[in-house]
């Protein structure tokens, strides 16, 4: 039994099958890339796993327990944390307060000093602890991304879903971001990352799953997938972002 099992996941929007019978699994502490051209259903799949959208058919299990059909909050408390393709931070709150939210309401339900400790640890991991009291609305775009990752980590998740978290970073920041994700995986976190930056995918993910038009077209070692004719064909006519 794998840690994360996606079995025949399907999402229909009217006549459109945004996710069409996708099945794959992820082990504890494993990191995998989720690739595919724009509109291939990657973010929809992330939304299905995190419960943001209800599935039309299929099943998702985490640690053997069915999580599909649960509410977003219960999936979060089951150990799934995510970032958003378009950064979502709470600008009226301080960095510390932003990060305390999942520490308080997440899996471990910390309160008081313990929640502050977890929040401080998460801010420290992404290099934002010096600005913990600053208002989140004052952050640059990159630091907002960092904050969002810190918030996901403060939930102390077992599965982290990253939706193009590396997009928009400059080369230095990208190198830092890659190092950070590698460190997280080293600590035993399972990570599924939607990513267009293929260099980062090569550096981080030994394995990728590739989607096209809602279907899974490849689930194999990264080098093999990136030279797979099916994958190349899917990206053709579409500007590869890397």
């Amino acid at each position: 039994m794998s840690f994360l099992e996606i079995i025949g996941a399907e999402k229909r929007f009217g006549g459109l099958r945004a996710v069409d019978g996708v099945s794959f699994a992820l082990e504890r502490g494993e990191i995998a890339g989720l690739l595919g051209p724009n509109g291939s259903g990657k973010t929809t799949l992330i939304n299905l796993i995190s419960g943001a959208l209800p599935m039309s058919a299929g099943e998702i299990r985490l640690g053997g327990r069915r999580i599909s059909g649960l509410g977003r909050d219960r999936i979060a408390r089951a150990g799934v944390a995510r970032t958003f393709q378009l950064v979502r931070i709470l600008p009226s709150l301080s960095l510390r307060e932003n990060v305390m939210i999942p520490a308080v309401f997440g899996r471990r339900a910390h309160w008081g000093r313990e929640a502050e400790r977890v929040a401080a640890g998460a801010l420290d991991l992404v290099g934002l602890s010096a600005r913990a009291s600053a208002s989140a609305g004052d952050l640059t775009y990159i630091d907002q991304k960092r904050l969002e990752l810190a918030r996901a980590l403060a939930a102390e998740p077992e599965l982290l879903l990253l939706d193009e978290w590396l997009a928009g970073l400059n080369p230095t920041e990208l190198a830092e971001g890659v190092a950070l994700i590698r460190r997280l995986q080293g600590e035993g976190l399972a990570i599924l990352m939607v990513e267009h930056i293929l260099d980062a995918v090569r550096a981080l993910c030994p394995r990728v799953v590739v989607m096209n038009s809602g279907r899974l077209i490849a689930d194999e070692a990264t080098a093999a997938a990136l030279s797979d004719p099916k994958v190349i064909a899917a990206y053709l006519g579409e500007e590869a972002d890397a």
Binding site: A52, D73, A155
Partner: protein, 302 residues
């Protein structure tokens, strides 16, 4: 130390105030205490979540009607209890079905709810009981009403202070900022919103029940007057709906202003009310307290 002693001292002072004023003055005190309570109770739910409710009078009127119907059948404390239960039941039923609505849809719905309750009671009274108005003869003095309202208002503010420091308060603030983030962080949206909505509704209902003997004669168009809902919102917004003392700070001056306006300009009063609404939203959209805080911070920073 001063912060700890100030509220009880102020409360004691407010409690003995009726001894020193005329009947007219006492009426003003009751009105001010009522609106402080309504605005604070409204903000308990709407201030943090930003779900702007225009259903205040649906609960307030239900409280008044509960007293009108039951005041001869049950002892007063039991009447209050029944009113509170009616408010809670209504809030639960309404909340479960509508707290999914966001933004303007919720505003419109909550306004519709107040009208619906009014029409239902009117229909029931006319067609089933055959009366339109009811009389409330209760052995409660004006001072007694004032003291009850003062206690309810103080309890509301104390409850809000406690909630603000609790998990519930934190959850409400996050929901007000971003429901997506709240849900994905593990917050149960429905339960959180429902809890605050019901608490708020029970207080609004009790406020209507306590103040109802002042009306003596009660009919739906009197106790379900939508102006009560609008006044409550604008008072809370003026003071600062997400600050503990904001609603109280907005309620007192606006209540006095409305009293004065409606006495001196009975015909143009609604127009002036509308202008005040617009003025508040334009000039201090965040409310007086947050604006003052920002000013102080800027001073300190400069």
């Amino acid at each position: 130390m001063i912060r700890l002693l100030l509220p009880p001292a102020a409360l004691a002072l407010l409690a003995v105030w009726p001894m020193m004023v005329s009947d007219y003055g006492l009426g003003l005190l009751i009105g001010a205490a009522t609106y402080v309570t309504l605005a604070s109770a409204w903000a308990l739910f709407s201030g943090q979540t930003h779900y702007v409710s225009l259903a205040t009078v649906a609960f307030y009127g239900t409280g008044a009607y509960a007293v009108a119907v039951l005041n001869e059948a049950l002892p007063y404390p039991a009447v209050l209890l029944c009113a509170a239960l009616a408010g809670a039941a209504m809030a639960l039923a309404v909340g479960l079905s509508t707290l999914r609505l966001r933004g303007v849809y919720f505003v419109i719905f909550s306004f519709g709810l107040a009208e619906l309750v009014r029409q239902l009671i009117t229909w029931y009274e006319v067609n089933v009981t055959g009366t339109l108005g009811r009389y409330i003869f209760l052995d409660v003095t004006a001072r007694g009403i004032y003291w009850q309202m003062l206690a309810l208002g103080a309890a509301t503010i104390a409850l809000t202070a406690w909630i603000n420091r609790s998990r519930l308060g934190m959850a409400l603030r996050v929901i007000g900022d971003d429901e997506e983030v709240a849900a994905h962080s593990g917050i149960n949206l429905a339960r959180t919103k429902l809890a605050a909505f019901v608490l708020s509704a029970v207080i609004l209902t009790l406020a209507g029940a306590i103040t109802s003997p002042r009306y003596v004669y009660v009919e739906p168009s009197i106790v379900f007057n939508p102006t009560v809902s609008f006044l409550t919102v604008i008072m809370a917004l003026l003071g600062g709906a997400n600050r503990l003392w904001g609603p109280a700070l907005g309620a007192v001056p606006l209540f006095l202003a409305f009293e004065w306006l409606s006495a001196h300009f009975p015909d143009t009063y609604p127009v002036l009310l509308g202008l005040l609404f617009i003025g508040v939203v334009f000039l201090v959209p965040q409310g007086i307290l947050p604006a003052a805080e920002r000013l102080m911070r800027r001073r300190a920073g400069a």
